[in-house]
Amino acid sequence: MIDVLYFAWVRERIGLPRERIETGAVTVADLVQELRAREVRYEAAFADLSALRVALDQELASFDAPLAGVREVAFFPPMTGG
């Protein structure tokens, strides 16, 4: 089981801020494929990966990073702090 969090317009498109997912995905990209296949709102959120960022256990990571041992995955658009 893994916690998946969504922020900003990713959260809005998917319609929820977080969910617990049972997955066998090996990498982030695998997990994205799995989510996109679920429903059109996921498809819409993950349509353009270049517009997305991912964090694994609250550290920025790349989409080919492995999920082994990860408890929390977060998807969000490029950050706009400051």
Binding site: A8, F76, M79
Partner: protein, 146 residues
């Protein structure tokens, strides 16, 4: 070094005073404050979403790097989240160093990294509805100078 992520407003002047009073030995203090622009009256405010937990860690990491790279006497970062009105302070950084070049460089470094590497997302609230602020290529490019 102090990092605060909070929904409450803060008093920039009081923070600068307290920070400056605590940096005996430093010769230079720089502060930056980011304010909600009103875009000529077309914006009614801003809403800032963040990633609790990761935000504090990310900012602390950026601040620790700045302190070490420019031998800062001290550094401060305050960043709000939630709803803000035009003119309100969104965030501030302050840096203290022996000499001005280090204090300036560290403050600009903090700002460049907070823009693109701290998990905040700004939504502008206008007359025609709300829209997420898009990250600028220039902000990502700004990181390359460090």
């Amino acid at each position: 070094m102090r990092v605060a992520v909070q929904p409450e407003s803060f008093d920039v002047g009081a923070e600068v005073s307290a920070f400056s009073a605590g940096v005996r030995g430093a010769g230079a203090v720089v502060s930056f404050t980011g304010l909600v622009r009103d875009e000529g009256g077309s914006l009614s405010g801003m809403e800032i979403e963040h990633y609790p937990g990761m935000t504090e860690k990310a900012i602390a990491g950026i601040a620790v790097e700045a302190v070490s790279r420019w031998s800062l006497v001290d550094a401060l970062v305050i960043h709000r989240h939630g709803k803000l009105a035009p003119g309100e302070a969104i965030m501030m950084v302050a840096t203290a160093a022996l000499h001005r070049a280090d204090a300036f460089a560290a403050a600009e470094y903090l700002m460049d990294y907070l823009k693109s590497r701290a998990p905040f997302w700004k939504k502008e609230l206008g007359a025609d509805g709300a829209s997420w602020v898009a990250a600028k290529d220039a902000d990502e490019d700004a990181l390359k100078r460090w």
